[in-house]
Amino acid sequence: MTALTHILSKVKLQVTDKEHTHSHVEAKPYSNPYYVGFGLGLVLLAAFVIMGRGLGASGAVSSVVTVGVNAVAPEHAQNNGYFSSYIGDGSVSPLKDWLVFEVLGVIFGGFLSGMLAGRVKGGVEKGPRVKTRTRFIFAFIGGTLMGFGAKLARGCTSGQALTGGALLGLGSWAFMLAVFAGGYALAYFMRRQWT
């Protein structure tokens, strides 16, 4: 009898152990940045060798915006010098675009990596001193500046800094230095949001 209760308690212990690990999946720590950078560099190199072009991100959003505006106000979109460059002659949808498919891959790849490491958790990224509402307002303002700046610079951190940086483009390196300068210039005023 005592042997049986002993076994039972052991089984019970194991079950609670299992439950414990299931309900508190610890997010694995992020990988060594130099290894990640090497891997990212190989992905970029593969894009150069296979496609003859680098990576990007903001261009995909431009395609989506173009399709949206073209659906609501087609005449307006086609008369606009910027939208019309994305519409082309109208025979191919702006969504049938290399960057659009690449970004779909980015979302899938990010999700895959997050799943494998127990990091798909939702939530809001912010420091402890600001409310979620404040964070959302800043996220929107920052995103707006980011979209505008990326269009003016002809690419974002992916298309200009990373891709153009590896190809030693002059404009890309000037852009990269400007990005860090802009970030560091405002960092002090933004510290409440992050620290």
Binding site: M51, S58, T66, G109, E125, K126, R135, M146, A153, G182
Partner: protein, 199 residues
């Protein structure tokens, strides 16, 4: 010369879209592994407490740069067939400054916001809406800023062209600069960690 494959018509446009998706998976996977799905980690770059952004970015740039240099040196990759965007120096610097400010205010850049979105971060969704809005504003204002947008065009100019150095020399100098930046980043993180402890 065998590469870039696409430029040598080894496959067509439809296949290139599948390749785009696969390359995107690698890109997104690497960004998430690096911690770039977290706005706090990205922002930490600007407070010197976590220099992962610099480390990952410069390692990636150096890796791809050396790869491109080597493959074109042995005659496998035709560098002239790789797309390099023309330099419009003033609009690009101004755009970079605006983008950098957007980075520290919003916490992401477009690529990293997609990764953050894929791991469920709600602020990333708001940020992506902001990017969409910013691009919309840019396009609507385009007739007024068109002249500035196309100003100071320097063409397809690279650092070797600009400084009158050989390609290999610039590659070597960038590697040296990256190693210096890594050393400074490791040192900076240690200093900031000590500062944090003493608080």
């Amino acid at each position: 010369m065998n590469a870039p494959f696409y430029k040598f018509d080894l496959f067509g446009f439809d296949v290139s879209l599948i390749i785009a998706f696969v390359i995107g998976i690698g890109f997104g996977f690497a960004l998430e592994r690096g911690g770039f799905g977290s706005a706090r980690i990205l922002a930490a770059q600007f407070y010197f407490t976590n220099m992962r952004v610099l480390k990952v970015m410069f390692t990636a740039i150096v890796t791809a740069m050396i790869g491109v240099f080597y493959l074109s040196y042995i005659g496998y990759l035709d560098l002239s067939l790789i797309f390099i965007s023309d330099t419009y120096i003033i609009p690009q610097v101004v755009g970079g400054l605006i983008l950098g400010m957007g980075f520290i205010i919003g916490g992401y850049c477009p690529g990293t916001s997609f990764v953050a979105f894929s791991t469920g971060k709600k602020d990333a969704i708001v940020f992506i809406l902001g990017v969409t809005f910013g691009i919309f504003i840019f396009a609507e204002l385009f007739p007024f800023i068109e002249d500035f947008y196309y100003s100071t065009n320097m063409g397809r100019v690279t650092l070797p062209d600009f400084f009158g150095l050989s390609y290999g020399m610039v590659v070597f100098l960038v590697v040296l600069m990256a190693l210096g930046a890594f050393a400074a980043a490791e040192w900076g993180e240690r200093v900031m960690a000590k500062k944090g402890e003493s608080k």
